[in-house]
């Protein structure tokens, strides 16, 4: 018996009924695991539907725009092999183009009208919209070749190989154009990537502005929140609870109400300016412009995001016993020394959590800059919203959104390198 046990030492352990112990264990825990999984199913479904799918779709839309091939499927295939170096395409390709145009003009299906194509090309060559509507209108009348001459007769611009080169690019489903546009670049006439004209460079400057304004807002939040959190964490519970309610009060007020309150406060005929004029600190005609610019955005956003800094700081400070500072003091450290060497390092997880939270919220903030930002204080999200809601250039909006997402992820990565994400403490 003992011999058998020894010789079987390498064999898997068996349960009393002879099945391997591991299998038996898996069997008994399976029900538990299933139940645990079932509990998460609603959340998983919700996340997939409301988060994974939309983001995936956004990412996809930013580089996939089938407007060209949808409107002119045959032409899209025909022009694929064409080489722009040989001048305008051959008449066979142009014939397909003309028939596709004529067919597209009659098409009323959403996404397949000539207007869709014209819009798409217009992104690449501003002002080219009329060329397409005009050509499409007359394309049906072209019955015999040479088709090229017929086109040139409609509009001289068809004689330009670069127009065809653009068309070739536009009819490809997968494109980098929107990322180029989102980073203030474009294809020039010969198809190479260049910076956009100075007048049209708007996205990168706004992205930079978004980043530094977020950083500024984060820094201001930190400067304001740190002493407040310290006070909250050291006061007796009754007082600190009362103060905590004051901190949380903005949370319970509608965002719109808060932002509007800032408008009432900061505008030229607002409370602050009125008081300053009344106290004769400033003259009536030199009232300070504090809203509808960067200042307004920063003030309102610091106010709104402050709780997100205070709460993690407070919860971390709450866990630091006062005996630490006392111990440092008893060992001879001055208040400043004890604070910088003992207290401050222990609040770093809270600082990390707070700054990360505020920065990421700020970088994607939309409603407040839209209301109080004027034209100066706009952030990248406002441009994205514009493209989604007004200009309906969803692909460009998606590309900007993706770039924003990447920027956030890069910051998160840098942050992780500097602080370590497992060091974060939200409470």
């Amino acid at each position: 018996m003992t011999d058998a046990t020894i010789s079987n030492a390498d064999a898997p352990l068996l349960a009393a009924d002879g099945t391997p112990l591991k299998e038996k264990l898996a069997l008994t825990t399976r029900r538990m695991k299933m139940r645990a999984f079932l509990l998460t199913v609603p959340l998983v479904l919700f996340l997939i539907l409301s988060f994974v799918l939309p983001i995936g779709q956004m990412l996809y839309r930013s580089f996939h725009n089938p407007a060209g091939s949808n409107v002119m499927p045959n032409f899209a295939k025909a022009i694929k092999g064409w080489d722009a170096e040989q001048g305008t395409p051959g008449d066979d390709i142009i014939k397909i183009f003309v028939t596709d145009m004529a067919a597209a003009r009659k098409n009323r299906e959403v996404g397949k009208t000539i207007g869709n194509l014209a819009t798409r090309v217009n992104y690449e060559i501003p002002g080219s919209r009329s060329l397409f509507t005009k050509t499409a209108r007359r394309a049906g009348k072209i019955t015999e070749g040479p088709y090229f001459d017929a086109l040139v007769k409609i509009d001289k611009r068809w004689d330009n190989p670069n127009l065809w080169r653009t068309l070739q690019r536009v009819t490809e489903d997968y494109t980098l154009s929107f990322y180029l546009a989102a980073t203030d670049r474009k294809y020039d006439e010969t198809g190479s990537i260049v910076l956009a004209d100075e007048l049209y460079r708007i996205y990168l400057p706004i992205l930079w502005k978004t980043i530094w304004m977020s950083a500024l807002i984060t820094a201001l939040c930190f400067i304001i929140a740190y002493p407040v959190s310290y006070l909250l964490s050291t006061l007796p519970l009754r007082t600190s609870n009362l103060l905590m309610i004051l901190v949380l009060l903005p949370f319970w007020t509608s965002l719109l109400v808060r932002t509007s309150a800032w408008i009432a406060m900061l505008q030229k005929s607002g409370i602050i300016n009125n008081v300053l004029v009344y106290l004769q600190i400033i003259a009536d005609e030199s009232r300070i412009q504090m809203i509808y610019n960067i200042t307004g955005t920063v003030i309102a956003m610091v106010h709104i995001l402050l709780p997100f800094m205070i709460l993690p700081l407070y919860s971390v400070m709450k866990t630091i016993p006062p005996s630490f500072m006392r111990a440092a003091r008893s060992m001879g450290a001055s208040n400043t020394y004890a604070f910088t060497k003992v207290y401050f390092p222990q609040t770093i997880p809270g600082i990390a959590a707070g700054t990360l939270l505020v920065f990421i919220l700020a970088i994607g903030y939309y409603i407040t800059p839209a209301l109080v930002g004027g034209s100066d204080g706009l952030l990248i999200s406002n441009l994205i919203a514009d493209h989604i809601k007004k200009t309906l250039n969803w692909s460009l909006g998606a590309a900007l959104g993706t770039i924003l997402l990447v920027v956030v992820m890069v910051f998160y990565w840098i942050y992780n390198k500097l602080v370590g994400v497992d060091n974060l403490k939200f409470g």
């Binding site: 006392r326 008893s330 060992m331 450290a333």
Partner: protein, 373 residues
């Protein structure tokens, strides 16, 4: 004798630590420390013992400098330190939960007070290593406090309080978080460190066994006042009032009225019937109420006739076998919590629950103190 010499002679005779008429109130309504006068000579291990809220920790915090005294003076080495901030007092302190800095290694923790004093690197290293060896953790310098066991953290905390060679060490219930066995071991270790280094230690605890084990003298605090300040044996054997008798060690109480005082001996009529003779320690006159204090090990079961000053009949309610002795709970003169420790001797008659037996004790072992209600 010159004035300076006169002054230094005064300093020598003065206590190392002195509380003089110290009062403390947090809210202006209640005095947490009522009138504290306490002299601690250099090199002494003094324990402030008392229940929570008795003012012992507040007194310690005033000495450390974390709480200002509302009234009175505190002297350290002959100089008033009322206006000296804690970092200038040069007092080492061990906190209840050790207060080891979690973001520093053990060695960095120990080096902290040395860095504050701008000591050079080699000196710091030597001192840290010596401190680690003193608490028998020579190889733990690179660890973080969280990686140490409770007992090891405790030792590091002690080492950190000692590493900068302070003359005075304060300990605020430092062993409270340890389990019983470790606590007892650490009591001896701290005591030995104290003996070896000759520093003055002021130790705060609510655990009377700990106080008895470690201290040279114990100050029993209650209600903001020192009830008694004596050596451990004095405190146990000669409590001056009922609170101390009750708080230190196990104690049998008997309530009664003084019927006669004859020198040191008072005769007391017990409320539950019977009359006994007791040492008159803290009683008023004839007719005043008193509470008698009697240690369980001083009571004898079935004493020989005339061998004890007092003899009274009681009923055995419960017997608990504890090996070396049998803990016997009795009803004596109406007190149903009367405990007698009966030594487990070969010749003893077996006891039975419900039996009526005679118990006796000497008058000097029974102290008549202030009445407890």
């Amino acid at each position: 004798m010159s004035l300076a010499a006169q002054q230094s002679a005064d300093l020598d005779t003065q206590a190392f630590v002195r509380f003089e008429k110290v009062q403390k109130s947090y809210d202006g309504e209640i005095l947490v420390v009522k009138d504290l006068n306490l002299d601690i000579p250099e090199g002494e291990f003094l324990t402030m013992l008392g229940p929570s809220g008795s003012g012992k920790t507040t007194s310690l915090m005033m000495l450390a400098g974390f709480e200002p005294a509302t009234h009175g003076e505190i002297y350290l080495g002959g100089e008033s330190i009322n206006n000296v901030p804690p970092n200038k007092r040069g007092i080492g302190m061990v906190f209840q939960n050790y207060a080891l800095f979690p973001h520093m290694t053990v060695a960095e923790n120990l080096a902290f007070p040395l860095h504050v004093r701008n000591m050079n690197k080699s000196e710091v290293e030597a001192k840290v290593q010596r401190a680690l060896e003193m608490v028998e953790l020579p190889a733990m310098g690179g660890r973080r406090p969280a990686q140490l066991s409770g007992g090891q953290q405790q030792r590091v905390a002690v080492a950190r309080a000692l590493v900068f060679d302070p003359k005075l060490i304060l300990m605020d219930e430092p062993l409270g978080a340890l389990d019983k066995q470790l606590r007892e071991q650490m009591q001896y270790e701290i005591k030995h460190i104290h003996e070896n280094l000759g520093v003055t230690v002021v130790y705060v605890t609510h655990d009377q066994a700990e106080a008895l084990t470690m201290s040279d003298r114990i100050a029993v605090f209650e209600d903001g006042v020192i009830q008694q300040l004596s050596t451990p044996d004095d405190l146990y054997e000669r409590p001056q009032n009922s609170f101390v008798a009750q708080f230190i060690g196990e104690n049998n109480k008997l309530h009664g009225k003084v019927s006669k005082i004859d020198g040191d001996i008072a005769s007391v009529d017990l409320d539950g019937g019977g009359s006994v003779r007791a040492a008159a320690i803290n009683v008023g006159g004839v007719g005043d109420r008193t509470t008698l204090s009697l240690r369980p090990e001083r009571v004898e079961i079935e004493p020989a006739e005339g061998a004890t000053d007092n003899a009274i009949t009681g009923e055995i309610l419960e017997l608990i076998y504890l090996g070396d002795h049998i803990r016997t709970r009795m009803n004596v003169s109406g007190n149903t919590e009367f405990i007698v420790k009966v030594p487990n001797n070969a010749g003893n008659k077996p006891l039975a629950e419900g039996a009526k037996v005679k118990v006796g004790w000497q008058a000097t072992d029974c102290r008549a103190l202030d009445p407890l209600t």
